[in-house]
């Protein structure tokens, strides 16, 4: 009879997914940084090119991240309240349907819808459509968190005398905090490099850093694109390292519970 340990020690296959991501995700980025290191200078760090776009990018990403989490939270809560009924499936389905219809097509639809309003090609329009794109993602991350909450906890809170708001504040909300953080970070990280919606909906007036990079790539000016990207990635990675460290600490705590 083979023991579990003996059996497992032979399974080298387990390293394949990690190796794949290491070779085809991490290595290209590291090699790209290595090959373009001469483009990187302290001067561009202190005085980044396209300073205005840096700020616009950060601002749009922050507004999008907070708003999409705030707006999708009640929908996720409704999903949780109706868990195990056909309504929860309907909600998931309705949130998922827009994703099937393609990013560019949805942007087209918004161009048309916004043409009936005074917001066409405005900053508000960019934020609105960015929210439209990211609300489903925030929702799906949040329901992962809600899925772990047992309905009996709220019953228990009720029997202890908590009213509905106290139950929410002290029982439900703390349990979803981890996924709120993940959703915030996910939307923030992904909207930082977003260039489709600002280009289509903003009409070129509210370019984010992604639009500048894309414009250089489109013209074949890879060195310039790399220069901006390197400065951008330096700032982004500095923020991300802190946030990811925070997540790992939380996850470790979460797993050890």
């Amino acid at each position: 009879m083979r023991s579990v340990k003996q059996n497992l020690s032979k399974s080298f296959l387990r390293f394949f997914p990690i190796l794949f991501l290491l070779i085809f995700f991490v290595m290209p980025i590291l090699l790209w940084i290595f090959l373009n290191q001469n483009l990187f200078s302290i001067h561009s760090l202190i005085h980044p090119p396209f300073f205005k776009q840096f700020w616009v990018t950060g601002l749009i990403a922050l507004i999008t991240a907070f708003s999409s989490v705030v707006l999708s939270y009640p929908v996720a809560l409704l999903w949780w309240v109706n868990k195990k009924t056909k309504w929860s499936v309907t909600i998931v389905f309705l949130v998922f349907v827009p994703i099937i219809l393609g990013l560019l097509t949805r942007n087209y639809a918004w161009i048309s819808i916004l043409s009936y309003t005074p917001f066409q090609y405005s900053f508000e329009a960019v934020i609105l459509v960015m929210l439209y794109i990211f609300i489903p993602f925030a929702f799906f991350i949040l329901i992962q968190g809600f899925g772990n909450i047992s309905n009996s906890t709220i019953e228990a809170a009720k029997t202890m005398g908590a009213n509905i708001f106290e139950s929410f504040r002290k029982v439900i909300f703390p349990q979803t905090l981890r996924h709120i953080n993940i959703a915030l970070f996910f939307v923030f990280a992904n909207s930082l490099c977003y260039y489709i919606t600002p280009a289509m909906i903003g009409g070129g007036k509210y370019d984010m850093i992604g639009n500048i990079i894309w414009k250089y790539v489109d013209k074949g000016l890879f060195a310039d694109a790399s220069n901006i990207s390197l400065t951008f990635i330096f700032y982004v990675l500095s923020i991300f390292t802190v946030v990811l460290l925070f997540f790992f600490m939380r996850r470790k705590k979460y797993l050890s519970r």
């Binding site: 009879m1 023991s3 579990v4 059996n7 387990r14 997914p17 990690i18 794949f20 991501l21 290491l22 085809f24 995700f25 991490v26 290209p28 980025i29 090699l31 790209w32 940084i33 707006l71 999708s72 009640p74 929908v75 409704l78 309240v81 909600i91 309705l94 949130v95 349907v97 827009p98 994703i99 099937i100 219809l101 393609g102 560019l104 097509t105 949805r106 087209y108 639809a109 161009i111 819808i113 439209y132 609300i135 992962q144 899925g147 509905i164 990280a189 490099c193 489709i196 990079i213 894309w214 790539v217 890879f222 790399s226 990207s229 951008f232 982004v236 990811l244 790992f248 996850r251 797993l255």
Partner: protein
């Protein structure tokens, strides 16, 4: 209470209204796209009053659109399939490996989700140009890297569907990893796998950033083609492609549901065919009905001196229903439980491949369930009686579930053990500092050690290997305690706080009684008390330099075992 309910209700209404507004916000463009694909005009994003399939015909007869769709589908299927394979591997092994494997793996998986995709696309573009990596390969590799995290988080959501006991049991039973993935993991997370595939496909089909950066040749994907058309012409072609995708997705969901319904109906039919639920034993059914009808006749006669025929008929049918719904079901459960035990036993004895699959699935969880069902229905107080071979398997299963604390007594000398329980000493089990008390006299043990050294040592080595301390108590003292506590037997086994088994090893019945735990059962508790009393008197058996030594049991260890049992059984 009513006010509280009202409060909760208004809260629910508020959430519902808000969510409805958000869902409308999400769905308005969807409706617009569908309408646009049927009534769109050319040139600008406008709607006309004419409903037609004009744009559908135009798109599906345009070679460049067909080529773009084929290319997108090819990239989507290739990258999603490879990504799903890799994700499944990581998902499966992360169930086994914690610590560093999971930490490094999780970091690698999370990275693509949060790293700026634009920068990755730029890096991939520059490297594929430098190392002459073909365009399709670059796109597929890029897509796989992004799809793996999405699929992993979908699969992670189905973690609770996999019981880790099944994996451990399967390995112990000799199954390979490929077999476990095929027969245990995939069937249990099939729906999540399908969702992961669908999400990966949709993501890859609609991916624009990597495609935009990498594609230089004419082999555009659908999003790239739409992007290139932005400055030239905005027409409903893209809406047509994505409306078709939406309809095909809905049809796929419908077909999968239909398939699942047909499958479950077939399975139900099979079950019904195997064990017809009603009127299988018509004689017993009628007999129960007649008995109840007669009882009714007697009661009516004594109470009213008059017998109403309709009441008798109703009593008869009540008897029939009672038998069919209650008694028959209990018998079925009993037969089912016995069948499982028999089949697993056959597997263990003969290693028959036919039963391997069954054993993997039924191990531990289902057996436990059947025992508890049997217990609940039949022997509320007496437990379940099983034969010695079955008892051996049950105890082995309990060890394999890694609950691990075993405390037992035995009135046989060590060498007799092999003869009585032939499978026990060759099995490999996981236990945590357990104890076995032999109810034998000192002289009996010395004689056994001298005359049957090989068998004695086999018994001794097995216990050392499995961290089971061997203790002994004088037979007379043990029987005195047994009499004081008014117990029927002195040979017992206690597993955690789950089971107490009373062994009756002497022929002719060769039957053990198993009790399900329930702390409320005084009967089981009294056996636990019996063990605790024995523990106070116990001495430890040791073999040092080929000499048998019986010395006093370490006080600290004694207290440790004592406390453990007391805490488990609330004594």
């Amino acid at each position: 209470m009513a006010a509280d309910y009202k409060y909760g209700l208004s809260w629910k209404i508020a959430i519902s209204i808000f969510s409805f507004a958000i869902l409308c916000f999400l769905l308005i463009p969807v409706v617009y796209i569908i309408v646009w694909s049927f009534t769109g005009g050319s040139g600008v994003v406008t709607l006309t009053n004419h409903f037609s399939f004009h744009w559908f015909i135009k798109v599906y007869s345009d070679e460049s659109w067909l080529k773009a769709i084929t290319t997108s589908v090819f990239y989507a299927i290739s990258s999603t399939s490879i990504a799903l394979f890799l994700t499944l591997i990581y998902y499966y092994y992360s169930l086994w490996y914690r610590n560093y494997y999971q930490l490094v793996g999780y970091a690698m998986i999370v990275l693509p989700l949060f790293f700026p995709l634009l920068v990755y696309a730029l890096a991939l573009k520059m490297l594929s140009a430098r190392f002459l990596i073909p365009e399709p390969a670059s796109i597929i590799l890029g897509h796989i890297s992004i799809i793996i995290p999405i699929q992993y988080f979908i699969l992670e959501g189905s973690n609770e569907k996999i019981n880790k006991d099944w994996l451990h049991s399967s390995i112990v039973m000799g199954a390979k990893h490929s077999e476990i993935v095929r027969k245990v993991v995939i069937p249990n997370i099939a729906i999540s796998l399908a969702i992961a595939f669908a999400c990966g496909f949709l993501y890859s089909f609609d991916e624009i950033v990597i495609s935009n950066f990498i594609i230089d040749t004419g082999n555009s994907t659908v999003p790239k083609k739409i992007w290139l058309d932005i400055n030239r012409d905005i027409n409903p072609s893209s809406a047509v492609v994505y409306s078709t995708l939406l309809v095909s997705s809905l049809l796929s969901i419908l077909l999968i549901n239909l398939f699942l319904i047909i499958k479950s109906t077939k399975a139900m039919r099979k079950v019904k065919k195997r064990t017809p639920v009603i009127f299988q034993d018509i004689r017993s059914t009628i007999f129960t009905g007649v008995v109840l009808a007669m009882v009714d006749v007697i009661l009516e006669y004594y109470a009213y001196k008059h017998i109403a025929i309709w009441k008798v008929i109703i009593s008869f049918f009540v008897g029939v229903i009672l038998y069919e719904i209650l008694i028959r079901q209990i018998i079925l459960i009993y037969i089912w439980g016995k069948e499982i035990i028999d089949k697993i036993y056959v597997y263990r004895k003969a290693e028959h491949s036919k039963y391997r699959e069954l054993a993997i699935g039924l191990l531990s969880y289902k057996l436990d369930k059947s025992i508890s069902e049997l217990h609940d229905f039949f022997h509320q107080k007496e437990g379940v009686s099983v034969t010695i071979p079955e008892s051996e398997i049950l105890s082995e299963l309990l060890f394999e579930r890694n609950r691990g604390f075993y405390f037992g007594t035995d009135s046989n000398v060590p060498s007799k053990f092999k003869e009585l329980y032939p499978n026990y000493l060759i099995s490999s089990q996981q236990s945590k500092s357990s104890a076995r008390i032999l109810l034998c006299d000192k002289q009996e043990l010395i004689n056994d050690f001298t005359n049957n050294r090989t068998d004695f040592m086999e018994f001794y080595d097995w216990h050392i290997r499995h961290a089971v301390t061997i203790l002994t108590v004088n037979k007379i003292k043990a029987y005195a305690i047994k009499t004081t506590l008014q117990l029927i037997n002195s040979d017992i086994g206690i597993w955690d706080d789950d089971y107490v088994v009373i062994f009756k090893p002497e022929p002719p019945d060769k039957i053990h009684y198993w009790f399900k735990s329930h702390h409320t059962f005084e009967e089981t508790k009294s056996y636990v008390r019996f063990f605790l009393n024995l523990l106070n008197e116990a001495k430890q058996i040791k073999v040092v330099n080929n000499n048998l030594q019986i010395e006093s049991f370490n006080d600290n260890k004694k207290a440790e075992v004592n406390n453990k049992i007391k805490s488990l059984w609330n004594i």
